[in-house]
Symmetry: C2
Subunit: 270 residues, 2 copies
DNA sequence: CTTGACCCTCACGTCGCGTGAGGCCGGAGG
DNA sequence: CCTCCGGCCTCACGCGACGTGAGGGTCAAG
């Protein structure tokens, strides 16, 4: 029962004592003093702030309303304006809170979509995938693609696009791809020569269509052409359209690249 | 098919055109340029920013991630660091969003409590009220009090306190009030004179107990004393404790006020 | 040549403090 | 007496993502 460090019967508490009592920082008290929201009625000769019981009363009200998320200006109104519409201000604040919750929930839903896209590469159900991509589609492909390419910049960009695509959009992409592949097959059949304007137009068109997945530079396209030929799965796909299409495609891509000053034999993905 | 105002085939779009296409403000584009997040690759001779197709690509990605709530620094990482853990960043963001939703929901609950307190004055069910305040309690009183005093500073302060009180706390308040009233009755019976130290101590104690509702100045206490005597409801309550207690209470309050330099006949509530 | 729409670069304001920097005050110990 | 340490003071900048002018060039059309 010795003299307590912060006796309640003195006529004022210092900032540190108040800060402990109310659970706010000293800086906050300084700030509220600066802006005139809650000032101590006393100062010691040395300039120390001294908060009286009445000041504590007011500070406590400030803390209460701050915990409700009101801005300092609004709190000032509530504390000082006897005509302040406190219930109105509270309801307005409530409405704002609901709004912000809504926005955050939509934001969370968007994040979930994007995370899903990053993890699965495709946001369609197996049935939707079958309906959109046709019978030759293998639902394991996205997972396999992620295993191979997950973590690359291109996978990230692909996922960004996937997140904003529904069945409709995917159908349009699949249609464009199918249309291009038909055109490639027809051109090869028609004897279009690598390096010819027609071949180069097709190469250009391939880059544009492929941009549905991610932006493709000409160098990357060269690598892609070589992979289409070398990878058994891709080769089988293209040669299934026309025998030799994979090799022919590589040749028209290489020719187009050369025409743009790129050596296809040394071109790298990045 | 005339020349469009923002032809897509020119080699750059100005800030205004980009702003319309992407739905962001011109200032945001300036800002992203300033901080180096997304700069135009071209400028006209006059200094106009010109965004190329590639720039638009990058801008679009910025917009996407900004809509997911990522900070500009994090977006920069995602766009530029090929080793950036994009799914990780997204999940961290998701966790933050959930946290913020939680905080907002708690905040909303607090607001609801406070609004309720402002509107009803008491957050207890009718049964709880009966259990806490005893059989002579009338559940219409809070509503009536709000009709009379709603909108005053004191009602607001009373509501603030009510919002943070449960049945326990109300029981303590009711107990303190009952105890005080017993003491008042006993003192009157014992012939305590208005103006005596004992009477003044009781007046002081009344102010302290009453502070459970809202802070009471001595002037306000004087008005209260007069109302206790004049209002039939209050008078009946106090005279029900002891015949003449309302009038005696007014007299001890008046005397205490006079002893503190207040003229009870001209004292006003505010 | 003028007009009006568009563009530029500063540069301060927002909101509620956090975080030092530099220095004074006050009580305890040597 | 001096010193030390913890607490207090007053500046004053920083944060995050721009909003909002001020003051002044630029461009296409009438």
């Amino acid at each position: 029962m010795g003299n307590m460090p912060d006796a309640a019967d003195t006529d004022g508490l210092t900032v540190g004592q108040v800060s402990k009592r109310l659970g706010v920082t000293v800086r906050a008290l300084h700030h509220w003093d600066e802006v005139g929201l809650a000032r101590p009625s006393l100062r010691t000769a040395a300039g120390y702030r001294l908060y009286t019981a009445g000041d504590l009363e007011r500070l406590h009200r400030v803390v209460v309303y701050r915990e409700l998320g009101l801005g300092l200006d609004r709190i000032r109104d509530v504390l000082e304006d006897p005509a302040a519409d406190v219930p109105g201000a509270l309801r307005a604040q409530r409405a704002q809170v609901d709004e912000r919750i809504d926005r955050l929930q939509r934001l969370g839903a968007g994040l979930d979509r994007m995370i899903d896209a990053q993890e699965h590469g495709l946001l369609l159900t197996t049935e939707q995938q079958a309906a959109v991509f046709g019978p030759q589609w293998n639902p394991d492909w996205p997972a396999r693609a992620r295993q191979l390419y997950g973590g690359t910049t291109q996978w990230t960009q692909y996922a960004e696009r996937s997140a904003s695509r529904g069945p409709e959009e995917w159908r349009a992409v699949a249609e464009a791809v199918a249309c291009l592949e038909r055109a490639l097959g027809d051109a090869m059949d028609a004897g279009v020569e690598p390096g010819s304007p027609e071949a180069n137009r097709l190469v250009e068109r391939h880059r544009e269509v492929f941009a549905s997945y991610f932006p493709l530079t000409r160098r990357m396209q060269v690598c892609l052409g070589r992979m289409y030929e070398a990878d058994p799965g891709f080769a089988a796909h293209y040669d299934g359209i026309r025998a030799g299409l994979a090799a022919w495609f590589r040749r028209i891509v290489d020719a187009d690249a050369r025409a743009h000053g790129i050596d296809p034999d040394t071109a790298s993905w990045r």
